[in-house]
């Protein structure tokens, strides 16, 4: 095991033990689980030369020894997947995927794996910091005197995600594989800690759906910031993937210029839906409802309705309720998923649907909606216009948002970050 900081600055000797320079950096090829060391940068006479790893006989805290006496520098080409550990990773910020936070690299840990030296972990603990400052030994002695341990913390390279900015110098596309698998809420938490450029870089690497889910979990101000930083086409694609009610809230907060541009780039259906939702007041049932619900005509049988559900399900926000509408789109009844499943497949739904559903009007206040959802123990409440036509539904999660003080958490460590920025820009 070797820490990068222990190798940097150590002498490099040739086969005969003659000093030829010092270790300036190590090169690894990223992409594998543990990136193998592929080269060494040697500082000699004030300039840097690159050597293939094959030329190195040994490397440890005492320095490096080469296989040869003559240095052949002609063969080295830095390949596109290679990074320099000291220049590109040391002291930089990386994402700790498991811990869902952005941390700083104190040191890098290298280990022999299958006979070759690999980058295996990132040291983010106090011991790494002390080692870099050259006071790890004395500090340990001191800590020992007080019967305390020096906290050590390593993150396996597999659970680490380097940021775009960090390694921008090598024009490498970071796949962000680990991040893409996180829950959207966790991804949003991480995204919140990144600078603007890193955030845009990260979003660019996600697919539209993952990006939409993550953005959906963020604070409104952050959503607006991110969307305005993205290419308008990409922003439009991501908005199409979001729930229309969320998309509408977000679009309403954009600057006039971006709003027109992005709406113009969205597919017509989606854009129309978003624009319609935007006409309702923000704090009314119309403003918080979603238009993605399941509505069927009263003439269907239970089996046909279940088939219809299978068709529509991917987009609908909830399928626990199926709404029944007449030819004019007026709400005439509601079915629960349970009703549908226990009914005989051939029964007409009109015979067992609940004919007097609880509804709210599009202009009902948010509190009224919350009140009704709570009083009737609903998972969603249908929203109708003045003529009784079904316009959308408010799901329980959107309804209870109003009960929580927003933001529900204490926030401080960001120096003035939030709340003062985007909307009025």
């Amino acid at each position: 095991m070797l820490y990068l900081s222990q190798a940097i600055g150590r002498p490099v000797r040739d086969k005969l033990g003659e000093p030829i320079g010092t270790v300036a950096d190590l090169i690894v090829a990223i992409g594998d689980r543990y990136p193998p060391v592929t080269g060494i940068v040697v500082k000699t006479n004030g300039r840097e030369i690159f050597l293939q790893w094959q030329a190195v006989a040994s490397l440890d805290a005492a320095g490096a020894t080469l296989q040869t006496t003559a240095i052949d520098i002609s063969k080295f080409h830095q390949r596109p997947n290679e990074i320099r550990l000291k220049r590109d990773l040391m002291d930089r910020q990386i994402v700790d995927i498991d811990g869902r936070k952005v941390v700083r690299v104190n040191d890098l840990r290298l280990d022999e794996v299958d006979g070759a030296l690999h980058l295996v972990a990132v040291d983010v603990g106090a011991s790494g910091l002390l080692r870099r400052l050259g006071i790890e030994g004395p500090w340990r002695t001191l800590a020992h005197g007080f019967h305390r341990d020096v906290p050590e913390r390593y993150i396996d390279w597999e659970d680490v995600d380097p940021l775009e900015r960090t390694i921008a110098s090598v024009k490498l596309r970071v796949p962000h594989k680990g991040l893409a698998e996180l829950h959207p809420a966790d991804l949003a938490t991480i995204m919140d800690q990144l600078s603007r450029n890193d955030r845009v870089g990260l979003i660019s690497s996600l697919d539209d759906e993952a990006a939409a889910d993550a953005i959906g979990e963020m604070e409104p101000e952050t959503q607006v910031d991110i969307l305005e930083d993205l290419e308008p086409e990409r922003a439009a694609d991501i908005l199409e993937e979001m729930d229309p009610d969320e998309a509408a809230d977000l679009v309403a907060d954009l600057s006039d210029e971006s709003r027109v541009e992005i709406l113009g780039l969205m597919e017509k259906d989606e854009a129309d839906e978003v624009q319609e939702l935007m006409t309702y007041g923000e704090d009314t049932a119309g403003g918080i409802m979603t238009t993605e619900f399941v509505a069927v005509p009263a003439s269907l049988t239970a089996a046909q309705t279940i088939d219809r559900l299978r068709e529509l399900e991917p987009d609908a926000e909830t399928i626990y309720y199926v709404y029944v509408t007449d030819d004019d789109g007026k709400l005439v009844g509601v079915l629960s998923l349970r009703d549908l499943i226990v009914a005989k497949p051939s029964t007409c739904i009109a015979t067992f649907m609940y004919g007097e559903p609880v509804v709210v009007h599009t202009d009902a206040g948010q509190e009224e909606v919350t009140d009704i959802v709570a009083r009737y123990n609903l998972l969603a409440v249908p929203v109708v216009d003045a003529d009784g036509r079904l316009e959308g539904i408010v799901t329980v999660d959107d309804a209870i948002d109003t009960l929580l003080p927003h933001p529900a958490r204490i926030r401080i460590p960001r120096l003035f970050g939030r709340g003062s920025g985007a909307p009025d820009r």
Binding site: D225, D229, R411, I412, R414, F416, S420, G421
Partner: protein, 406 residues
């Protein structure tokens, strides 16, 4: 409008307890003679804040983080430790300011320190950030109004004010030059540099906000020095012209000056002066611990920049509370005579640190790879280095004189 803020709050916060004490003493001791220094420090402040803001805009990172990435962990650790020591001294000075202000109002000074400590800790650990920001701006406006009115009440000689502002007066006595250096040094500070950059970065402003940010910084720098001007002329008119002598080596100097306003400008001016001092100390008490904890966490990769709860961010809150509580206990226990030593020490550390910080800032800002289109142009670079050179010289002067006086 979204851009306005960082420069403005930074400008307000520059006039903390230390600043007001320095300006009051300058006015009381040298009358209108030091006003030209304000014009120069105004210009230098604008350029240093502009570079800091530009760094934040281009990199999205705070100063401490950038220094760590570009100059390594040792430089970053040196900068942070020096800043923490200096800032601890500044926080002690803020408490002394609170104490002096409440004494003028007729209450015991420990009461002021205690209330300020409790309010600041509660605000910073429990308050929502939106509120903290509004409160900072409101307090800043309150300080501005208080000193504007005190200056008017003191009936200064506005003609002399105008001419002293543009005509430098070069004297040979050393106390005069110490006051010159102190006036510049209290305006341009290491923490102010860290503050503006983190603020800009955390507000997620970007290269497209450059023009707005420059206006903001210009406005903030102007405001800082206009307030300083009001303080100096108020003291010049009421204290210096009336030939009242003040023991400027006492931490209560500013309180004595406030009381000295009474005969000429009326009790109203005295109270306004004290209220301004209280508000400014309070603002400093909020901003300085925050900036310190923020910079340390940023450089060492602890939990910054997130809406962590108290329990999730022990290092950040721990540092912040430590600063406030330590300084509060210090001020209550340490005799007043030693207090001035602590503030002097803080000033010396600040002086030592400032050249390093400015050289880092200037070098980072002319790095094209890092800054892209926001890299300092030839003119900005030249002006920046001249300003930096000037401050390095001033810092050395203050350092030498501080050692002589200690």
């Amino acid at each position: 409008m979204g851009v306005l803020g960082p420069g403005l709050v930074s400008g307000f916060a520059d006039n903390d307890a230390g600043g007001i004490t320095t300006y009051s003493v300058a006015g009381a001791k040298f009358g209108y003679e030091l006003l030209w220094v304000l014009l120069i420090s105004q210009i230098v402040l604008f350029f240093t804040q502009e570079v800091g803001a530009r760094l934040g805009l281009a990199t999205g990172q705070g100063l401490a983080g950038l220094v760590r990435e570009r100059y390594g962990v040792r430089w970053a650790s040196f900068m942070i430790s020096a800043m923490l020591v200096a800032n601890l001294g500044s926080i002690v000075a803020e408490f002394a300011g609170c104490g002096a202000a409440v004494t003028v109002m007729g209450y015991p000074s420990w009461l002021g320190a205690l209330i300020a400590a409790v309010v600041v800790v509660v605000l910073l650990t429990r308050g929502s950030y939106k509120w903290v920001q509004y409160i900072f701006v409101a307090v800043g406006i309150c300080v501005s109004i208080a000193y504007f009115v005190s200056a008017i009440l003191a009936h200064p000689d506005w003609g002399l004010t105008a001419s002293s502002l543009v005509v430098p007066r070069l004297e040979s006595n050393s106390a005069y030059w110490v006051a010159v250096v102190a006036t510049v040094g209290t305006t341009i500070t290491p923490w102010g540099q860290a503050f503006i950059q983190s603020y800009v970065a955390d507000k997620r402003l970007g290269p497209e906000d450059l023009v707005g940010e420059r206006i903001d910084v210009g406005f903030g720098a102007l405001l800082t020095n206009v307030i300083a001007l009001f303080i100096v002329v108020a003291c010049a008119a009421a204290v210096y012209s009336a030939r009242i002598t003040v023991d400027t080596n006492s931490p209560q100097a500013v309180g004595q000056i406030a009381n000295a306003l009474r005969p000429l400008a009326g009790a109203g001016a005295t109270y306004l002066f004290a209220i301004g001092l209280l508000a400014a100390s309070f603002l400093g008490l909020g901003v300085v611990p925050l900036t310190s904890a923020y910079a340390a966490c940023e450089a060492f990769g602890w939990e910054t920049g997130v809406d962590w709860r108290l329990r999730e961010a022990p290092a950040f809150y721990g540092l912040m509370i430590f600063f406030v509580v330590f300084a509060a206990i210090f001020i209550l226990l340490v005799p007043k005579d030693s207090l001035i030593q602590v503030m002097l020490t803080a000033q010396i550390v600040n002086c030592l640190l400032l050249p390093f910080v400015l050289v880092f800032v200037m070098r980072l800002a002319s790095n094209r790879e890092l800054m892209g289109p926001l890299t300092s142009g030839r003119l900005l670079n030249a002006v920046g280095w001249i300003g930096t050179g000037l401050l390095v010289v001033l810092s050395m002067v203050l350092l030498v004189t501080s050692f002589v006086s200690v």
